[in-house]
């Protein structure tokens, strides 16, 4: 039983995390381990400063908390502090993965699953260094605060990632494919998907041509559109960047038209997948937040501190990558909502443009970037040859206004490798996605 002191706000976040990693390189076992760690992160707030500590021996939580109390200054009015007033007092238990926990699946079964797919990576002679990775994570979180919040929930992801080097003569390509899910059985029966992805990539190696740089209409796949939404606008919606500059609130006034009228971008922590966060790391319950609705700025992402500073409500977006860091404002699952076209209708009006199918990475500030992996020409409304593109870029706000077509179907994706980086906290699992998105002009290099 934690003993909280009056005159301060405090909370404790514990995570019991199990993570299995199995990898093969060129058919040889490279890694096989299951790491189980229990850590806690302790926070104390006195109305002026936050005091944090990370704990690996959870029997020391009380001692650590008392040490932080001693460093802080007692504040009899702490409950009236606008930040503290934003903290919710939820009491809840949500265990969605108790009956399908990856902790209960023997490592041998996971290894056998991975091994069953590896031969598919060697079916084409151009593949020279195939590698396969199985990853899973099951976490049980427990959050308690001095206000009485007491939340327990679990989180689970599992997935497979395959990569291979492809080389034929002077032509080279690095192929990748991955599938993420929340249940182990979602990873079975993927042979045809993997084979099809490899075939597309070997075709790319053999037949892709360099792009002629310029400005073209571009169609983004759900993967590319999701990364675009995340990088181009999601990060701008994280309100902590507004704290340093008092003019920002005016600049980012809700109600302002900032994109095409067909564009809506939403964010929600209750979507199952990598970005599943039913309660954030300050105990705030997840909710669906629109960032842009029909082209109009309607919301932004908050933790308690930013919500108080901007006099808005918390949104359930305080997240840390693990119990060695404090929660900051982060995305959960971010996506563009669908439109009214099918894919053929979307590309039909394009005389000369490009379709970005998969990507290597993206980034976003005033200019966003997407580095495509697989990309194809669009010529006279039809998909054409594969093309090599190093990067597509554009001004975020200009591009938001140039979106002129969306398909009906929306795909939400979860990846098990990589993740979102922000300052010192890298590789936070997030979900993303959207429909196929047409942009009338982008800078293609």
């Amino acid at each position: 039983m934690i003993r909280f002191r009056n005159g301060f706000y405090a909370d404790i976040r514990e995570e019991d995390r199990s993570r299995t990693t199995i990898s093969y390189k060129a058919g040889v076992l490279d890694e096989m381990k299951t790491r189980v760690e229990v850590r806690a992160f302790v926070r104390v707030y006195d109305g002026r400063m936050w005091y944090y500590a990370s704990v690996t021996d959870t029997s020391n939580i009380q001692k650590t908390l008392d040490g932080l109390y001693d460093a802080a200054t007692e504040n009899p009015n702490i409950l009236k502090d606008p930040v503290v007033k934003r903290f919710e007092r939820n009491v809840d238990t949500i265990m969605r993965f108790k009956d399908c926990s990856v902790r209960d699946i023997p490592a041998k079964e996971k290894q056998d699953l991975l091994l069953s797919y590896l031969p598919l990576l060697s079916e084409d002679s151009c593949i020279t260094m195939p590698s396969g990775l199985y990853l899973d994570r099951n976490s049980v979180f427990h959050f308690q605060s001095s206000l009485g919040a007491d939340i327990t929930y679990d989180y689970q992801t599992c997935g497979l990632s395959f990569s291979c080097s492809m080389a034929e003569g002077e032509k080279k390509f690095s192929g990748h494919w991955q599938k993420g899910g929340v249940r182990f059985d979602e990873l079975q029966g993927l042979e045809s998907q993997i084979r099809s992805a490899i075939s597309e990539q070997t075709n790319f190696l053999r037949n892709s041509v360099p792009v002629v740089p310029g400005k073209y209409p571009v169609v983004l796949s759900p993967e590319a559109a999701g990364v675009f939404a995340h990088e181009s606008f999601g990060h701008k919606s994280e309100s902590d960047f507004m704290l340093s500059d008092e003019t920002m609130k005016k600049e980012w006034q809700l109600g302002k038209t900032i994109g095409s009228p067909i564009l809506s971008i939403a964010e929600c922590g209750s979507v199952l997948g990598c970005g599943y966060v039913p309660y954030d790391d300050e105990g705030t319950k997840a909710r669906k937040n629109y960032l842009i609705k029909n082209g109009v700025l309607v919301g932004r992402l908050h933790n308690a501190q930013t919500a108080a500073a901007l006099e808005e409500d918390s949104t359930g977006n305080a997240r840390a990558i693990d119990c060695t860091f404090e929660p900051i404002v982060r995305m959960t699952t971010t996506y563009i909502e669908g439109g009214d076209l099918d894919f053929d209708q979307l590309i039909a009006p394009i005389k000369k443009g490009y379709f970005i199918k998969t990507i290597r990475h993206g980034s976003g500030m005033s200019t966003f970037t997407i580095a495509p992996s697989l990309a194809f020409e669009i010529v006279d409304g039809k998909l054409g040859r594969p093309v090599q593109i190093s990067v597509i870029t554009g001004s975020v706000f200009e591009t938001l206004g140039l979106i002129d077509g969306l398909t009906k179907d929306v795909q939400l994706l979860s990846f098990v490798t990589g993740g979102c980086g922000k300052m010192e906290q890298m590789n936070l699992p997030v979900g993303f996605g959207g429909p196929y998105v047409r942009v009338s002009s982008m800078n293609v290099q």
């Binding site: 890694e31 460093a71 080097s165 080279k172 704290l243 340093s244 404090e326 090599q388």
Partner: protein
Amino acid sequence: MDKEFLTKTSRSVTLNVTAGKIDSFREKEETTSTVRVYEDGFVGIAGSLGRPDEETLTSKAKDALELRIPYPCALEGELDEGVLEREVRNEKEIIPVPKLIPTMRSFLDRLGEECPRFAFSNKIGLKNEDAEYRNSCGRHLVSSTGRLSINLIAQNRGSGNLFDSAFGYSGDHFDEDALISKFKEQYDAFYKDVDLESGRYPVVFEASDLMGKFLQQFVGELYVAGASLLSGKLGQDVFSEKLTFQDDMNPYSHPGTCFFDDEGCVAKNYRPTLIERGRLVNLLTTKKSSSQFGLSNLGTAVAPYDGVPSLGFHGFYLEPTAESLRELVPGKAIFVVLASGGDMTPDGHFATPVQMSYLMEDGRLVGRLPELNVSGDFFNLLEKDYIGASCGDPLDNSRMCAVMMDVARS
């Protein structure tokens, strides 16, 4: 049975800065222990948080041999000088922890006065790391290092941007006047808009920002697979004679770095070399990949405390060819502060947007450039277009390099 032991302890104190004010204090301490045992071409690994009983951990590592993870036993005993032990301590107290908050408050207040139109945020931290490696061949290495990191992002008030510029320092001393002066030079140039015709220009990058984009090409496994642009070129003079490229594991030029890798390897001058005077002399390897593919082991492996060693890289070091930026690029050049999101096509065409850069004339920043796109070919950039590298900034040893690139307005 051959064995090796690795223990690491890190202690850090981190301040968060919002609007130029410190609003949080975070303290972390963590110790991890690793035992690796080798038998019949396999490795067994056990790791733990804290310092558990060594025999218990060794017993767990022996049990892990059952997983049959192939790994060559290539433990090394004597160092080049014929000794088994070495201790390198670069752990002077930079700022006493109790004085960190008042010292940084004063620094941030001064910085705010000197740069009033910028709003500063992000992190300031002190970190100390100790590492100890022992193996059954008798090698015993001890490292103790510390560094101060100041990573501030700056918003030009009213710009509406996430951030507009970045100021950084990482080193083993704190010289407030010198830092203020350095940051102020950038600040003054930020508010002088300058323009540039599209064309070819010398472009100055921090070494990590340019070479980091190319590091994948040096991966040994990709090299032998024929999937690297460098495949088949080991031992050949493929780059400019002015280019020597090393991993900086020297704690005196790269404070905070351990002088040995996670497999207990120690390089000459603590800087394993990939390119020496234009010649590709090594690739990124571990003991496993070097043995598997008949390559030299570079000695830069990193390993999770409970996992198999993998490829690592610690710091980008380019042999200086000039004493200063002024000597390196006399006349006009583009000084890149932020170039994010670029990449290379499979045939080696590199392109990146430059979100933030300054026009530099004779080594001085004279004004802020608009957003640019820069591009070039991998081999040309490191051969005929490679201009050279300057000596480290006297303040923090950061290496700057210059290459000729195609530059266009965004």
